[in-house]
């Protein structure tokens, strides 16, 4: 099985049609994938290391183009977009990386504000918004700290805050609990669920933490050797 197409009406938030990906001359890491995700859906992506989870996410946050097939986000065919349009589309996507990818020379406040600085906004315009978000992720007291002085869990929450500051329509998280303890992992997952339910953000989380997946009621997409091998609409809570 290579399809994940739940019943839906209207434009999907994410749509992959016959998508394959191959790096240089290596074997395909993703093969002929057909995926559709509803706007406001919450989906887990799982699979063993090397199954293609990160590669699939790279296609979704527009770090790579597929070798074959079509990736559509919010109804837009990404291969048809110009570079400026791709940049604009990226601003609708928030990404949380396993290794955080925080900028070491910027404070927590400045890391969160980065996507807004990129848009040319002034600090006076976004200051309150950034402070509120830092408080929401529990970093209100650490906003002037540099990333290296934060714990793994704090860095992860900082990366989440940065991904959310633009109020993205799609939030992609790659192993967001990989570097934190189980308790912090649950806290981070609850943040994602809260965001999904309160704001309606489409959320895709790649993880191999099955214990955490079982605690949340959401569809699970399982990849193996670049193929979808199982999808479960609703895991028991």
């Amino acid at each position: 099985m290579n399809r994940f197409r739940p019943d839906m009406t209207g434009e999907p938030a994410v749509e992959l049609n016959g998508v394959s990906l191959r790096y240089d001359t290596a074997d395909e890491v993703l093969s002929d994938l057909d995926i559709r995700l509803k706007p406001g859906s919450f989906t887990f992506l799982t699979g063993a290391s090397g199954a293609g989870k990160s590669s699939l996410l790279k296609l979704l946050y527009l770090a790579h183009a597929p070798t074959h097939g079509e990736v559509r986000l919010f109804g837009l065919q990404t291969s048809a977009l110009k570079r400026r349009q791709l940049s604009a589309l990226r601003r609708r996507i928030g990404v949380v990386f396993q290794d955080f990818r925080l900028l070491d020379h910027l404070t927590a406040f400045e890391n969160v504000a980065l996507p807004l600085r990129v848009l040319g906004q002034k600090e006076s315009d976004y200051r309150d918004e950034v402070v509120d978000l830092l408080r929401w992720v529990g970093l209100g007291e650490r906003m002037h700290a540099l990333p290296r002085s934060l714990s793994g869990g704090e860095q992860q929450r900082l990366a989440i805050a940065r991904a959310l500051i633009n109020k993205p329509d799609l939030l992609i998280a790659d192993e967001p609990t990989g570097n934190v303890d189980p308790e912090m992992g649950q806290r981070i997952f609850r943040l994602f669920v809260e965001l999904n339910r309160r704001v309606g953000t489409t959320v895709i989380i790649a993880t191999h933490d099955l214990a955490l997946i079982r605690e949340f009621d959401a569809p699970v997409l399982r990849l193996q050797h670049g193929l979808i091998v199982r999808d479960v609409e609703h895991q028991p809570a």
């Binding site: 946050y61 527009l62 770090a63 790579h64 183009a65 570079r83 400026r84 791709l86 940049s87 604009a88 589309l89 990226r90 601003r91 990404v95 990818r101 900028l103 070491d104 020379h105 910027l106 404070t107 400045e110 504000a113 980065l114 996507p115 600085r117 990129v118 848009l119 600090e123 006076s124 200051r127 940065r162 633009n166």
Partner: protein
Amino acid sequence: MSKPTPLLPESDAREAALFFVVAALCFLAVLATLTARGTYTAAQAWSAQVEGEMTVRLSDTDRRGADEAASLIRGLDGVTRADVLSHEEMERLLEPSFGPGGIPAGVPLPLLIAVETTPDSVTTAASVTNTLTSAGYTAVAESHSDYAAEARRALGTLRVAAIGVVVLLTATAIAVIAFATHAALLARKDIVDVLHLAGAEDRFIAQLFERRFWTLGLKAGAAGSVFALAVTALIVFSAQSAGAQSQLLPQLSLDFWDFVILVVTPIAAGLAARTAAGGTVNHALKAVL
């Protein structure tokens, strides 16, 4: 509200090394340019000076006959000076051959007349020789410009070589800056990736690097120029102190155009750095989605 931290971190060791390289290249470029200018100025001044000079060599006559020959020459069109060289002047002239002890007694010497003409004078070495020969003298007149031609050619070659060095140094500076920018971009790929995924347009990212390298080029160029200025001033000062400026050596001075070179060089270095940075970053970004 404090000033936001620059998105690109402050300069690191790699930029310090690049600063030194650009400063050194600018120093050499300024020095080469000043030398090229000095050479040109020296060649012009020396040529202008010797252009209207000639020396008349008289044989088979005494001092009195030489004075009469000089009077004859003074009567020619455009001749401003015709003086028989005194024994002291002859000694000074021949000092490189005979040393400071003077000309040994018994050495047969011709009488010489130093002649100067106006730049537009029709009087040539040949016409002076003809005039004196017709008057019964055994005389040969030689124009200094004949000797100057070879020296002018040598100075011209030196000038072309200096311009070539300037061009080569400029091209090297641009290539080094482009290479260093590429290395800096690779070293900061994490920042470029984060900015890219945050939705920054290529222009925005390129401008960060362009601004950084424009400043670096400007500062390094200024440092190199100031050092070149110091070295030039030292050379000029030393030459003036020694009081022995040779007309054949490049005339290193510090006039208006030299200062223009000193000001333009850092700006050129900054622009070269900015252009190389922009091109390299844009090229690298085009390679990713």
